[in-house]
Amino acid sequence: MLRFLVRRVIGALVILLIISAITFWLFYAVPRDPAMMSCGKNCTPENLAQIRKNLGIDHSIPVQYWYWLKGVFAGRDYAGYGYCDAPCFGYSFANNVPVFDTIMDRLPTTLSLAFGAAVVFLVLGVGAGMLAALKQGRFLDKFASSASLLGSSLQIYFVGYIAMYYFVAQLGWLDQPSWTPFSDDPVAWFSGLLLPWLVLAIIFTANYTRMTRSQLVEQLSEDYVRTARAKGLSRANVFFRFAWRGAMGPIVTVFGIDLGTLIGGAIITEQTFSLPGIGRLAVKSVDQSDLPMLLGVTLLAAGAIVFFNIIVDAVYALIDPRIRLA
């Protein structure tokens, strides 16, 4: 297991390095000169050259990338803007802040949103899927299947605004979505995120219901489940200790990918509910052509997915002894 983790983490770092290089090259190869934008109306060639130097874009792209990479480990001085401590993932000239600080600032919101929603959709989705599988072909199964089809065809900005209108504005059952750090006020943190969690979960729940049901139905028809019944084990025992064990693998896989994606920014959800997370940061950076910030957000998204992939593989090996990690 340890060998596996070491190998995978090394692999992940290599992947991130490649992603950063490609993203860097893509962004800085675009014909938009940040120095020009920063120089303003009365721009003299001298000024421009100085700004270029300060921004560190007076070199070729490979050299710029090298400086950027060095900054990650050693920190970097952006003369005229400020010093960026290690790990320095670049400097946002548009907002005059280091990229890393901004992302760390925004990350708690996104993490709260992602993990909170994950708890809701896992419990609801897997629970409904289990019920549907137990009552195959009966009313409950058909109801869960139709509901999940409906759920998966909904869109967040649609459900989000309707929910806000009814539950917040009309009925007053829920608080207006807002962001309060957990350490400041746990109750406000919870009530401010409750609606985004539920809305985000609706979309995912449907997917998990369908997947749990189909996985369980498949497992329940496996020979080893029949054997377990032939040994005299009870239906419930067989369901949870045998069939569910087998159904877990694919669910864990999809869950890992979903979680990674969410941490890279639930863009629409954060926009809809005006939550200051990574997703909104990404949108804002695009608007402002804030390339260093975008690079940082892209790397975070990629890193999250790579990280959860490793976790998924490790969990898979714990579930299924046939998978040997080496």
Binding site: D223, T227, A230
Partner: protein, 345 residues
């Protein structure tokens, strides 16, 4: 029914198992009766779709209850199983009656160790402690010939070879000394040399524990090795039954005869083509009228009045011997001799 004064241990009476599917009702088993005495082996022979496996799932109550209509009687030691509650059946399964399956790799849980799978059966039925059950699992593994059982007990099924998995499966089925063992094609997926080992093992264990065995197979050669009595199934019905010697030496039903003469054996003259049964096994959704074998039967036209396609021949059993065929004894004697001659050696 049988003339023996011994009470049958397992008795199946007029069993009907019908599934409803999207395409209609599948009559998987359609009126099957048999008896099994204590310590004896009944071989059930049939091809895919003959209803042989369904019958045995029904005995254990493992059929899909929502979609299955079941009729008849299944008496195990005078206890009616078809009307038994799920809880009662759970107490019997793995305890008084056990089952082993064809594909041991698929039939053992990949997520639990061999030892765990054996010991949990034992714990469930005897209430033994964890360490007692583990000791029992090791003992059973040793009994079925697994080398180093105290080490292998912690292995997972995928770490066993095909033959060892089937041994482990047998150990699991026999851990509570069941009185009835249902073996559904337990050697079909195995190589011949391993198959021979497993058959020997089953015979040894039967002698030791006096288990009654229902052995399901498509292979008449395996039947010849292990069974006392034989029941031949075709299209959900029994077409012939009798002792192994009676059925294999002097088959009464054209289907049994066809099976015997279509099988190549090590003595068959090589220049003579095999003697296959024409056509394919029947669809149970839409079984042929009358005798279900008549579309493939070479003798059907010899029966007067096209009776074979009109009327289902009754299974007349005397002293445990019988067949369901419209041919008269004289016709049989006339038609079967040359074929049976080449088949039964």
């Amino acid at each position: 029914m049988t003339s023996t004064d011994q009470q049958p241990f397992l008795s199946v009476r007029d069993l009907k198992v019908h599934f409803s599917t999207e395409d209609g009702i599948v009559k998987a088993v359609d009126g099957l009766s048999f008896d099994l005495l204590k310590g004896k082996t009944l071989g059930i022979v049939g091809e895919s779709g003959s209803g042989k496996s369904v019958t045995n799932l029904a005995i254990l109550g493992l059929h899909d209850r929502d979609r299955t209509a079941i009729e008849g009687e299944i008496l195990l030691d005078d206890k009616e199983l078809l009307t038994a509650s799920e809880k009662q059946l759970e107490r019997l399964r793995g305890n008084k009656m056990s089952m082993i399956f064809q594909d041991a790799l698929a039939s053992l849980s990949p997520y639990h160790t061999i030892g765990k799978q054996i010991s949990e059966t034992y714990r469930k039925h005897t209430g033994a402690s964890k360490s007692q059950s583990r000791a029992r699992a090791i003992e059973m593994l040793r009994r079925v010939g697994i080398p180093q059982p105290e080490v292998r007990v912690d292995d997972y099924p995928h770490q066993f070879s095909g033959g060892m998995r089937q041994r482990a499966m047998i150990a699991m089925a026999l851990v509570c000394d069941p009185e009835l063992l249902i073996a559904d094609e337990p050697t079909t997926a195995l190589d011949v040399t391993v198959q021979a080992q497993i058959m020997d093992l089953l015979k040894d264990l039967q002698q030791e524990f006096g288990t009654s065995i229902v052995f399901i197979t498509h292979d008449l050669g395996v039947i010849a090795d292990i069974a006392d009595d034989v029941l031949v199934m075709y299209g959900g019905r029994c077409v012939e039954r009798g002792t192994k010697r009676e059925v294999l030496r002097s088959p009464q039903h054209p289907y049994t005869l066809g099976l015997l003469s279509s099988m190549p054996n090590l003595e068959h003259p090589v220049d003579v083509p095999l003697n296959p049964i024409p056509g394919s096994p029947p669809s149970l959704l839409n079984p042929p009228t009358g005798c279900r074998f008549h579309p493939r039967c070479t003798f059907a036209e010899k029966v007067e009045g096209g009776l074979c396609s009109k009327e289902q021949p009754p299974l007349e059993v005397t002293n445990g011997r019988g067949s369901a065929c419209h041919l008269t004894a004289d016709q049989r004697a006339e038609f079967f001799t040359d074929l049976a001659g080449s088949a039964a050696n």
